[in-house]
Symmetry: C2
Subunit: 345 residues, 2 copies
């Protein structure tokens, strides 16, 4: 086979010179990825959003780029997507209700996370988009005491003991992944599924249950108050820095890989107590945390034991590994919060 033929058979979509759409783009991950694609020479990046959750603030830093196009549209309206995807070589699908919103409005959440994905895949197929990157989640491994040890891509979905909204959210991500598989099988649409762990970083929004905790802790410590730790603080979280994820999205387009789902998590997990101590140190304070019981009625996503979301497969598939350590990522997030931009978003 000639080099030329090899190239044609690859599912790689180079960023330079190509047009991309980010569905649900006016968001933490969307805006960071758009900036990355523009930096890498994308001819155009379309940010598609209905602004029900996305915000103008999240995209203020890239708004004036002439290669950026903002499209107001809704994933529940196929025509909106069909038009917005015209001429795109790559589509990143981010639009979704997360657990807190799923709890408030399961009807809307199931619509957006399932029909919204179907509409986006259908629009991609109809427009001859070369590759889709679908933002899945470590929620496909579920919640509760069954979630422990190394979470690898073959780990099953645990749901015993989790609140309905969390299970619904995880199940919609499982469905989204399978819809990608189904479009590949039926229509040859190339895709990479990235299973994001909990994202944090500059332009952090206030809707994610776990990432919000970082900001709450910072706000308390800055005021000289004791930060709160739920339970004994041994609960594991595994975050990933938004810049690392933006790079993962770009690399997923550029890689030969297709028809694959991999974890994208940060360098290593932290316990809640470690996290609170890191944030306290960053604030230059010497305050001991207060250990409090669980708040009844609050949707909290707990796991039973220590776990780690393994990201080795992502390196094998798309050559990606996380680079930003938690301390450094937190430092950047806090600097942003204290900056003018963070305070006015």
């Amino acid at each position: 086979m000639s080099k030329r033929e090899c190239k044609r058979m690859s599912a790689a979509v180079p960023v330079a010179g190509n047009k991309f759409i980010i569905v649900g783009g006016a968001s933490l991950v969307g805006s960071a990825t758009a900036a990355g694609l523009l930096d890498a020479g994308a001819s155009e990046v379309v940010l598609f959003d209905n602004f029900s959750m996305g915000s103008e603030g999240a995209i203020a830093h890239i708004r004036d780029n002439p290669r950026l196009k903002l499209v107001r549209g809704d994933v529940m309206r196929l025509p909106d997507l069909l038009r917005a995807m015209e001429g795109c070589q790559g589509a990143l699908l981010l639009a979704a209700y997360m657990t807190l919103n799923m709890d408030r409005d399961p009807w809307g959440g199931l619509d957006v996370n399932i029909r919204g994905v179907q509409n986006a895949l259908e629009a991609a197929r109809a427009n001859g988009v070369k590759k889709v990157v679908f933002a899945s989640s470590n929620a496909v491994y579920g919640y509760g005491p069954g979630v422990k040890g190394d979470l690898v891509e073959t780990t099953p979905f645990h749901s015993v003991g989790a609140p309905p909204a969390a299970i619904l959210y995880g199940a919609t991500k499982i469905i989204g992944e399978q819809l990608c598989r189904d479009y590949k099988r039926r229509f040859g649409l190339d895709y990479v599924v990235l299973r994001y762990s909990t994202v944090y970083g500059e332009r952090q929004h206030y809707r994610a249950a776990n990432a919000l905790y970082i900001i709450e802790t910072w706000d308390k410590v800055k005021k000289g108050e004791r930060p709160q730790v739920y339970g004994d603080g041994s609960e594991t979280k595994h975050f990933v820095y938004v810049g690392d994820l933006a790079r993962a999205n770009r690399m997923a387009f550029e890689a030969d890989a297709t028809d694959v789902a991999v974890n994208t998590s940060g360098p290593k997990p932290v316990t809640t107590l470690e996290l609170v101590r890191m944030v306290t140190r960053l604030a230059g304070k010497d305050i001991e945390p207060e250990f409090v019981g669980d708040t009844p009625g609050k949707v909290r996503l707990t796991s039973g034991g220590a776990f780690r979301i393994a990201h080795e497969e992502a390196f094998n598939a798309i050559g990606w590994k996380p680079e930003v350590q938690m301390e450094e990522g937190l430092r950047r997030l806090m600097a942003w919060i204290e900056s003018n931009e963070g305070r006015t978003t």
Copy 2:
């Protein structure tokens, strides 16, 4: 607490004197359950179906009962359900795409198995229905090599190696269960989830991937041909007889139990080879099966090892256990196939 108060706090819905609706009623399980509810003195049983999969033949044996009401309607139309559920104390939710249809039409399957359940629950809530029985499936434990040993109600969902349609189907059943939990939590709507294993019995339809195998085998053996066994015949199936399931549905209404999900499987699993030998014996033949390879492209739901779907929790929750052994159930199914009714359905 007085006896009267105790009674009021129970989630039991006695069958005698009460009105029931079976959504997706023109079906194997629906018609058998309707017959059981009518026998137990239900004042009325509404069979709600759009007849896209349900058939007139499936309900021929109960059609003339004056307490049976047939309503043509669609679970995708909330008004249809709102009207049909008026005055009902109990609602059995059966309407669903199974895996084969999910493969043919994932768009329709996700609609019916998710929005259809939401519509049915909403109609039940709006009409003050006392209890919902939701037909889930052992598909919530998934497929592939991870599915082995005793499958109990806390077993996670395995999906590695399964075809998209099977995973989509299982995920929709997980979602349906959680929607029931959510309606209980938000609105106090009592429910019992029964996780059916593969159903077989008189008025067997021709859409279920696994149960169909019984009829295919019977048809071959009757003609004197060698029945086919895929692989080495060691693959496990765990069937349940339709009459046992009809009784489980009735008992789920009558039990105090609410907010619970339990398995309803037959007395014990069989291997494919055992099953084929049973059917051959019933036909009075002495023919050795033919071992054939897997058929590529055919949706087959395989598991990696021996498993058993445990039904002990169903006894604890609603007092049910299966009564009909596989040999006896097969004898009844074959007798029905050979009867006039079976041949003309």
